[in-house]
Amino acid sequence: MGAILVALTSAAWPAIRQFGLAFFVTSTWDPVALKFGALPFIYGTLVSSALALALAVPLGLGVAIFLSEMVPDWLRAPIRFLVELLAAIPSVVYGLWGIFVLVPWVRTALGPFLKAHLGFLPLFTGPPIGIGMLTAGLILAIMIIPFIVAVGTEVMRAVPNTQREAAIALGATRWETTRTAILPYARSGIIGAIFLALARALGETMAVTMVIGNVPQIKASLLAPAHTIPAVIANEFTEATTDLYLAALLYAGLVLFVVTLVVNILARLLVTRVARGVEAIRE
């Protein structure tokens, strides 16, 4: 970890010296004039991942609860297998599927629908071209759901049966049992699953770059194209011909590194906090 940080920082040094902290708050990305600011990339990375989490967490947890608490035993293994298979698909395949299936669907169905019904929100304005932040969020959501399901199911299955039996003995329905006995007990594990999924979403490159439109801009509309840090690095690294340009890309990589680090530290803190809460419940 430390070695990576040192290597990245030294390689990015020309850009750090040139742009300093302004790199975080300016939005010009002009390789011709050698002016670089990473704000649109940071914004795109955070928003697309947040969008993915907003979609994937309810769905993923729902599936996990279903798999852990409700499904008959003979059906559990095949469903889990299918969901976990989703995690094994290479991201470039997700990207291709995104271009050929998801993008046309967003352009012709979802985009116009959102515009017609929620068009008064700034979130859904502008022409629905199918490429953009929303599509990136959708594809990321599909990619991270297996993580939430797999880890979520596992931690819920790990809840001792005595917990369930106790709740049922008190006359709780199945949903009440899940809500009052299972979820609080499994909370730290679930949060861990969510942050694992978030880390995956933050760093995802191929699938995102294929559907997000790769335009470094900050638009309120989710239908507009955007850009992310991993995508810009993957896109521009091979042909970054000047030293400062290359350094700026590495600086962006450093920013991503720091962002994921912060996210992970937050997750750690949250998990230990929650774990303390669980201890209290257990006692």
Partner: protein, 355 residues
């Protein structure tokens, strides 16, 4: 048991002897085989790997080429970790200064860049001019039925739809050629955007690679993008004609590209660092560029140096016949004659490497 043991021993002896034998055969067969290492542009990779295969069979010299991108090729060339670099964009003066010593850009083949579009109900061969393309990519012309486009295409019914502009999101020689052309034909483009392997696009969507741009154009109705001619042809995309300096609307092809080289011959400088954009001449397609191999004019190793210039001589002569099947435009005759002179200037320890 004894027999078993004997069998084992003989087996081991044979196993030891085989590599020795093979080793002695191969060393006695040829004098130390030369391997030339190169790295750089991805665009000419299919051609270079074909050359490498043919040349190894004909001359016994191995060409090991890694397509890591022009930027990486230039960096490795400057760091002298490869025998030759390859790039779709010329090195800057600053980079040549960093490299130290005499740097030669040797053109290998050329590629044309074409405007591809997807307008429902409109076929191939739409007419464009440089300033109209520049204004579309500047975001000043936004509708397909803009009067300026309509005037160029009086017989085509263009829709009143928004033009969805698509460009490359990754740095690329294709973008360098395209932006160089737009800078030549539009003063506004030159001052606002400029040229380079990636630029700060005023409008449009970015697709990764030729395939990314092609995918977006195919998927998005009323879109306009630019890709390599070879890519547009093999993927059967609809692309437009572009007006050249002589005022003709020209469909890009290998012959109109090679003719553009001949048209641009006088304008091509001694170091070949130029794009073949907006050249003089009739029947020339105006948007094209070379892909170069980068070598040092003074080679450190006479044996490798000789092998390298001999390979480049072969590539620019006999090797050219492999270019058209792979949809690269071969070098024009006049240009090859100039390259011959350049290759004869390559030296090692002060001695010229070619007679």
């Amino acid at each position: 048991m004894r027999n078993m043991r004997k069998a084992w021993i003989s087996l081991v002896l044979v196993a030891l002897a085989v590599p020795l034998l093979v080793g002695s055969i191969s060393t006695s067969h040829a004098q130390a085989p030369v391997t030339l290492n190169g790295a750089g542009a991805t665009f000419p990779y299919p051609l270079y790997s074909k050359w490498s295969q043919v040349y190894a069979a004909e001359k016994g010299v191995r060409i090991n080429y890694q397509s890591i991108g022009s930027g990486g090729g230039i960096r490795q060339f400057i760091a002298k970790t490869v025998d030759f670099g390859a790039s779709d964009g010329p090195m800057t003066d600053e980079q040549i200064r960093q490299a130290g010593g005499r740097v030669l850009h040797i053109p290998m083949v050329a590629g044309a860049v074409v405007p591809v579009y997807n307008i429902p109900g409109v076929g191939p061969g739409l007419n464009f001019t440089g300033d109209v393309l520049a204004d579309i990519f500047l975001g000043k012309i936004t509708k397909w039925n803009d009067p300026r486009l309509a005037k160029l295409n009086p017989n085509v019914k263009l829709p009143s739809a928004d033009i969805v502009v698509v460009h490359r999101s990754d740095g690329s020689g294709t973008t360098a050629i395209w932006a160089n052309y737009l800078s030549k034909v539009s003063a506004e483009w030159k001052s606002k955007v400029g040229e380079g392997t990636s630029v700060n696009w005023p409008t449009g969507l970015g697709g990764k690679g030729n395939e990314g741009v092609a995918g977006l154009v195919r998927q998005t109705p009323n879109s306009l993008g630019y890709v390599e001619l070879a890519y547009a042809v093999t993927n059967k995309m609809t692309f437009g004609k572009v007006r050249n300096k002589a005022g003709q609307f020209i469909q890009a092809s290998l012959s109109t590209t090679t003719r553009a080289m001949e048209g641009a011959l006088k304008a091509i400088p001694e170091d070949y660092r130029i794009f073949i954009t907006d050249p003089e001449g009739r029947d020339v397609y105006p948007i094209a560029g070379f892909t170069w191999i980068l070598i040092y004019g003074e080679q450190p190793d006479p044996v490798k140096g000789k092998a390298l210039v001999e390979f480049l001589w072969w590539a620019t002569h006999d090797g050219q016949k492999y270019a058209p099947p792979l949809l690269y435009a071969p070098l024009s005759k006049g240009l090859v004659q100039r390259i011959e002179k350049t290759l004869k200037t390559v030296t090692s320890r002060g001695e010229p490497l070619l007679p």
